[in-house]
């Protein structure tokens, strides 16, 4: 068969179609991988940033015209219902060029389908709430589902980790990393790795998977509580610490 311009027209053959279908399938798989391991976290990260700031704005509105929490007695909220978002995690070290500043929502619970795979950081419900004596332990994906703890290994000693709730900001300082087996549940004890001991300090523990794209181990980051900064209507940025004030620029 010849087409109008005289060139021979290739016939559609079963093998030809099959080949094209297979190539298409291969391209789709590669696209899925590119999306899952890279593009998704950029898209979802931006969405989470916006959602966290909206939440913060709601807290501002709720707290408006009420007396701010005292900065000397540290407020401890009651544990919320499972899967409910109740806090934001803010870590200046994890700000990346070309992406929104790092602020991500924390929800109650560590269930995969209810919390973690809904792109949240999850709070281990058996651990303490922010500001309480003991350990505020949270888990999140290293990559995919927003990759909320993607850069956990890049923390430097003394880096500030902020947990924002309706009451204000709990400031923690990063202390050290630990790499453990997935069964090492001691890392979320009130005093990590020392079971049965009465806690006197306030800590934060972050857990994620290690190495990248594997679940063979867990990477653990510990932080010590420094201070509580109350949400205060009368102050600029509602009292947000100066170090993270730029996170809230997008809120106005």
């Amino acid at each position: 068969m010849r087409s109008a311009n005289g060139r021979p027209r290739r016939r559609i053959s079963v093998v030809g179609v099959l080949g094209e279908v297979l190539i298409t399938a291969g391209v789709l798989v590669l696209m899925f991988l590119g999306w899952q391991l890279w593009l998704q976290d950029i898209i979802v990260g931006g969405q989470l940033h916006d959602q966290a700031l909206q939440q913060s704005q709601k807290w501002d509105a709720t707290k408006a015209n009420t007396k701010p929490a005292s900065s000397t007695t540290i407020p401890v909220a009651k544990a919320p219902a499972n899967a409910q978002r109740f806090a934001n995690l803010i870590v200046p070290r994890w700000n990346q060029a070309g992406q929104p500043l790092y602020v991500r929502p924390i929800a109650q619970g560590v269930g995969a389908s209810a919390v973690l795979n809904k792109n949240n950081l999850g709070h281990y419900p058996t651990t303490q709430m922010p500001g309480d004596v003991g350990n505020f332990a949270i888990a999140a994906h290293r990559s995919a589902y927003g990759g909320n703890l993607h850069l956990i290994h890049q923390l430097h000693v003394g880096d500030h980790i902020y947990v924002e709730t309706i009451d204000g900001w709990y400031q923690y300082s990063f202390r050290n990393l630990q790499y453990v087996q997935p069964t090492e549940v001691g890392v979320i004890d009130p005093v990590p790795e020392v079971p049965g001991v009465q806690a006197v300090d306030r800590m934060i523990t972050l857990t994620s998977c290690n190495p990248f794209y594997s679940t063979a181990e867990r990477i653990i980051a510990y932080g010590d509580f420094d201070k509580f900064i109350p949400r205060d209507d009368a102050k600029p940025d509602h009292g947000a610490p100066a170090e993270i004030a730029d996170v809230y620029e997008g809120k106005k």
Partner: protein
């Protein structure tokens, strides 16, 4: 298959090219925003928590 698809598209080559580009962009958007998130729920559940039994 793709050659046949190209032939059934109307208009001169640049109109066909435009149609193809728009169609590809629409397909990619559908994949990224609906298909891939749905597929992800079936592949490699990644566990990031510590617990006694796995």
């Amino acid at each position: 298959m793709y050659a046949a698809l190209w032939r059934v598209l109307p208009g001169p080559w640049w109109v066909r090219l435009l149609i193809v580009l728009v169609a590809v962009a629409a397909i990619i958007a559908a994949l990224v925003f609906w298909v891939f998130p749905w597929v992800q729920t079936f592949v490699a559940p990644q566990d990031v928590t510590v617990r006694t039994s796995h």
